[in-house]
């Protein structure tokens, strides 16, 4: 039987999810009152499963074959022809498998996590929107349509973070998530629009070819302009990947439900990195853009991993590591190692999903995400503890788990090309991440039970099954890498440095947080530093004092100007007219000779002027 239709119908993969989105929307409050909220979620998970099967099938068919492109016409105005190009290749379908697979897992997890919630329809429909958007982004081969998808996902983030809209922190979190990402998106749009007159196309392939011809000198372009365009395009990824200075939203997005956090931390943030990698040839045209990319990525990697150390919120401790790892992806792309960037996105996604899922089970029935009130869970929750440990192993460079190969390979590449600074950033971030993750593990599973973890057993199967399944995926990551030909040559790989950095981090963490005999360290001497990190280098305050303040003041002034100056002039005019009428009405005396005199004078004046 010919299975090729799986490839030609690949455009249906995003549609399943969008269908699920529309389907779930049918469960408006009216229907939910009759059927309960659950069918919406089941429908969604079922369609996600169909999408997963389709993706896997298409991946098997396309395996080893050259990439195909399917074009879907969208809009045409004169010579501006917009077609949605879908690239069907091993990489794009692999990404689809990752996205749909994670979605299935997260949705089953959601059955358990959202057990008592009545907002299933809204929640699962948004998950469907995200799944569809990410699959479309993975397949999409055009910068323009990538922008469209990213912008729609921004809206999705707003609604998903704002899911529990009753709580004030959620409302502000949703707002900040939307607006910070929108800043990135709009700069991206500026770049997209400014790019077209230069290149005449938005297809990634064509952009790469254009960049090649610029480098070869066949096409000349103003270097200042291409730098500006590159910075605009970069901003989109900076916003999506929660890089400094647009990183705040991810922290506040942690107010949303955990099943969506799994997806957000593991794959949604990676959408920005995905576009970043595909635009790499374009960025490489401008050294300034590359320098900015490296600086932001490096700063976020180091800063994010440090800030994660000082968080008392379990989810936030993980969310800053998301920014940090995305920073490493920025570093990899900025130094031209796109293959390592792809591989890191993959190994990171599985490990991060596992970490969030296992901590989520604890948060769910301990009813707190505050690390100070958790502890001593190892005796009662060994499975979720093991899952978390596997997540740590998959996340940092610890042989033989997934990220080890990628990070070590990246280290080797950086060292060989003499980029010691970025190699140092890599080692440092990895070590601090290991420390931070061990700290979270220690605070939750080791030590003595605290007030919220006294009665906290393992949770029910809809959450445990996906979590353990994810543990399996994470453990198999090296084999997946090998199958995808992403595993570096094992001979002569400098395993020592990266492993040592992880081990130092883990040992330090274990010494500080796992040792039951040791007296708690008095951190008072570090209080100022602790505050600095816990408050994310005071960037929220900085924002409030600068951008937010400026917009508020300017808009107030504009409104006042509008009301009192522009409208004031209008009212003044009308007042003058009314007053004039009041005065002039007394000139109506009824004496004919006065009227006649006025006419004579007026005629005289007019004839004098016209002479």
């Amino acid at each position: 039987m010919n299975w090729n239709w799986l490839v030609t119908s690949v455009w249906m993969i995003p549609l399943y999810a969008l269908l699920a989105w529309v389907g779930a929307l049918l469960w408006s409050p009216g229907i939910t009152r009759r059927t309960g909220p659950r069918p919406a979620g089941y429908l969604n998970a079922l369609l996600s499963l169909v999408a997963l099967i389709h993706s896997v099938g298409a991946l098997i068919v396309i395996w080893g074959q050259p990439a195909q492109v399917i074009r879907i016409p969208w809009m045409q105005v004169g010579d501006l022809v917009l077609e949605l190009p879908l690239q069907v290749s091993t990489v794009t379908l692999g990404a689809c498998v990752l996205v749909t697979g994670l979605n299935v897992v997260a949705q089953v997890y959601g059955f358990g996590y959202m057990e008592m919630d009545w907002g299933w329809a809204r929640f699962f429909s948004l998950l469907g929107l995200f799944e569809g958007g990410m699959c479309a982004l993975a397949l999409c081969d055009s910068l323009f349509f990538s922008y469209i998808i990213l912008e729609i996902l921004t809206l999705g983030t707003y609604l998903l973070v704002g899911f529990w809209f009753n709580q004030p922190l959620v409302v502000t979190g949703a707002r900040d998530a939307f607006l910070t990402k929108r800043i990135g998106d709009l700069l991206l749009l500026m770049g997209v629009i400014a790019l077209y007159p230069l290149t005449g196309s938005w297809d990634f392939e064509a952009l790469a070819a254009w960049a090649e011809s610029v480098r070869a000198g066949a096409v000349s372009v103003d270097p200042g302009l291409i730098t500006l365009v590159g910075l605009g395009l970069l901003a989109g990824s900076v916003g999506k990947c929660a890089q400094f200075p647009l990183h705040l939203w991810l922290d506040e997005a942690m107010e949303g439900p955990i099943p969506s956090t799994i997806l957000r931390n593991a794959v949604v943030v990676s959408t920005g990195a995905w576009v970043l990698i595909r635009l790499q040839p374009l960025y490489a045209l401008s050294p300034t853009v590359l320098a900015v990319m490296l600086t932001l990525g490096g700063l976020t990697a180091v800063g994010g991993s440090l800030v994660a150390l000082a968080q008392i919120d379990a989810k936030r401790a993980l969310s800053y590591l998301v920014s940090a790892y995305m920073g490493l992806v920025f570093v990899a792309v900025g130094t031209g190692h796109t293959q390592q960037a792809y591989a890191l996105l993959l190994t990171y996604a599985a490990a991060m999903a596992l970490l969030v899922m296992s901590i989520g089970t604890v948060i769910w029935n301990s009813i707190t995400q505050d690390l100070r009130y958790l502890g001593g869970l190892w005796s009662r929750r060994p499975i979720s503890g093991l899952c978390f440990l596997t997540g740590i192993a998959g996340m940092v460079a610890l042989p033989p788990f997934g990220s080890f190969w990628v990070l070590t390979d990246l280290w080797q590449q950086l060292v060989e090309s003499g980029q010691w600074l970025w190699a140092g950033v890599l080692v440092f971030t990895n070590g601090i991440a290991a420390l931070g993750l061990t700290r979270v593990f220690g605070l939750v599973w080791a030590g003595k039970p605290q007030q919220m973890s006294e009665r906290s057993p393992e949770v029910h199967w809809p959450m445990m099954l996906p979590t353990t399944a994810m543990m399996g995926v994470t453990l198999h990551m090296p084999m997946i890498l090998a199958a995808l030909a992403l595993l570096p040559a094992v001979d002569g790989i400098p395993a020592g440095v990266m492993t040592a950095s992880s081990l130092v981090g883990i040992t330090l963490g274990a010494w500080l947080y796992l040792n039951p005999e040791r007296q708690a360290v008095d951190w008072a001497f570090l209080a100022d530093w602790q505050d600095l990190l816990a408050n994310d280098f005071y960037t929220p305050k900085l924002y409030r004092a600068s951008v937010v303040f400026a917009v508020r003041i300017i808009s107030e002034i504009t409104a006042l100007f509008d009301r009192y100056v522009v409208d004031g002039l209008v009212n003044l005019t009308s007042l003058a007219v009314l007053a004039g009428g009041q005065v002039l009405k007394y000139t109506n005396s009824g004496q004919l000779q006065v009227y006649l005199l006025t006419i004579v004078i007026a005629v005289a004046v007019i004839s004098w002027i016209s002479l």
């Binding site: 408006s28 409050p29 939910t32 969208w74 809009m75 045409q76 105005v77 004169g78 501006l80 009545w118 907002g119 922008y147 469209i148 998808i149 912008e151 729609i152 921004t154 809206l155 707003y158 609604l159 704002g162 809209f165 009753n166 709580q167 004030p168 959620v170 409302v171 502000t172 949703a174 707002r175 939307f178 607006l179 929108r182 800043i183 709009l186 749009l189 500026m190 629009i193 400014a194 077209y196 007159p197 917009v551 508020r552 300017i554 808009s555 107030e556 504009t558 409104a559 006042l560 509008d562 522009v566 409208d567 209008v570 009308s574």
Partner: protein
């Protein structure tokens, strides 16, 4: 056909004034023109460059007043928009509105006159229709408006009277200067006019239509008029009436004076950018959701001016799409804001809260409000994005900086809509006060229709974009040609 579009609503409105029918008849009378205008789409020739469906009758030839009608891509879209919004406005009206026959009759009278203005090919006939629209709108604001309705209605009337003075002055000047004297749009001998006169006439027309659109700084009637009107009237004002301004600027500004237009384009582009920014900034500071939506309208007029200034095929197509998109989105927003006001009893952002609550709030209305706000903020997948994107892409090459400012404006638009949504839809509903009347089926229908169209045209933009393309190409070629002539002359002078 076209006469039917004008005549039927007007005659129907007479019937309503005389006490016939009521709501049902009004819906039928509004529905028929909509069907007719949809039929026009079927027979519309996409390739034709000139006017289609021409009708011509001498009326008062001594005055140059002829009854001549015609239709091109822009008129076609505007007719359909007017037909749709009129019907939607009638559907939005509460059945227990006071003096229903007068209300519906005035709406239909206005609708017929607007159809006339969108199709007429004679300047003075346009002026007549343009003025005729004022009477019903004045009454609609001053009889059915809220507290400050008299102030708003009078302000609106005076502003529009000033607009009419400039308009009539410009039209008369065109008549007197041109040789042969004619008010017929097709017969005006453009070459008779010296560049200075052309620029002066264009400026007068910009002021005239700038008041109607409105453009900053001629806009201060708008927040009052939109804010004090009842929801259906605000929908008509924002959805249709403002289009009279943009349509006029397009037809009698850009199309009639391509040379002067090309001269002024740089100023107009910056003007548009300033309008976008100040409209959005002023909207952020509003505390009343209706006034916030009203200010959003001012900002969106800036995009139209920017796209018109660039006058490339893409930007002009975008402008015409934006006129439709703005009409649909603004109508949706005013419908929803009106519903919120009717159910909750306030438009104050500091009081509204938690309407997304599935049990005690207005979840359906809130969901549509999110869609409407996001469409206005230019989120892709909705019709507003298509229009704004085309305008930006088309204008960027000519006016990069104003275009980038315009994109910044969409960011600020997102800011105030997020403020609006966060305050009204999100948050915790106050259990002591949240006993709102439930939303009836008929109240949902207009919003659902508009939301469906906004989504449909956003996903399938060709259904909207293909109609005005031929016109956009013809006009942009004219402007570009005169522009090159100017450049050539300038280089000759300097050479």
């Amino acid at each position: 056909m076209l006469s039917l579009l004008i005549g039927l609503p007007m005659v129907g409105s007479l019937g309503l004034f005389l006490g016939l029918g009521g709501r049902r008849l009004a819906i039928v009378l509004a529905g028929i023109p909509l069907v007719i205008s949809l039929l026009l789409f079927r027979d519309f020739d996409l390739q034709a460059t000139g006017m289609q469906w021409l009708e011509h009758r001498d009326w008062i030839p001594q005055l140059g007043l002829n009854y001549s009608l015609g239709l091109d891509g822009l008129s076609l879209l505007m007719l359909a928009l007017n037909g749709l919004i009129t019907l939607i406005a009638i559907l939005t009206t509460e059945p227990e509105v006071k003096r229903p026959n007068l209300f519906y009759g005035l709406i239909l009278l206005m609708s017929g006159a607007v159809n006339g203005a969108f199709t007429t090919q004679n300047l003075i006939l346009f002026f007549l229709f343009y003025e005729l629209v004022l009477i019903p709108i004045y009454l609609l604001i001053s009889i059915w408006g809220s507290n400050k309705r008299d102030y708003a209605a009078i302000k609106f009337l005076i502003y529009t009277a000033v607009s009419a003075v400039f308009l009539l002055g410009a039209f008369l000047a065109i008549y007197w200067i041109g040789d042969p004297h004619s008010f017929e749009l097709a017969e005006i001998p453009i070459s008779d006019f010296s560049p200075a006169v052309q620029t002066l006439l264009l400026l007068a027309l910009i002021v005239a239509f700038g008041i109607k659109m409105p453009l900053i700084p001629f806009h201060t009637w708008l927040p009052d008029a939109y804010g004090e009107s009842s929801a259906p009237v605000a929908m008509l004002l924002g959805g249709v009436l403002s289009k009279l301004g943009t349509y006029g600027l397009f037809r009698f500004g850009l199309q009639l004076w391509p040379q002067a237009w090309a001269d002024l384009a740089g100023i107009l582009a910056w003007w548009g950018a300033v309008a976008v920014l100040s409209g959005a900034l002023a909207a952020i500071a509003q505390k009343d959701i209706k006034r916030m939506v009203a200010y959003s309208s001012i900002g969106h007029m800036g995009y139209i001016l920017l796209g018109m200034a660039a006058a490339t095929p893409i930007s002009l197509t975008g402008v015409m799409v934006q006129m439709v998109a703005h009409g649909l989105i603004l109508a949706l927003l005013f419908d929803l804001v009106g519903l919120v006001e009717r159910k909750v009893g306030t438009r104050d952002l500091d009081v509204l809260n938690g309407l997304l609550n599935p049990l005690r709030g207005l979840p359906g209305i809130s969901a549509l409000l999110i869609l409407g706000g996001m469409a206005s903020a230019g989120i892709p997948g909705l019709v507003g994005f298509v229009a704004e994107f085309l305008i930006f892409q088309g204008s960027y090459s000519d006016f990069p900086l104003p275009t980038l400012i315009g994109i910044l404006g969409t960011g600020l638009t997102a800011v105030y809509f997020v403020i609006l949504l966060n305050r009204t839809c999100f948050g915790k509903l106050d259990n002591r006060t949240a006993y709102y009347p439930s939303v009836q089926g008929w109240e949902r229908i207009p919003g659902l229709i508009l939301a469906g169209l906004i989504l449909w045209f956003g996903i399938q933009p060709m259904n909207l974009v293909k109609w005005p393309q031929q016109l956009a190409f013809t006009l942009s070629t004219q402007v570009a040609q005169t522009h090159t002539v100017i450049l050539a002359e300038a280089s000759e002078v300097s050479g």
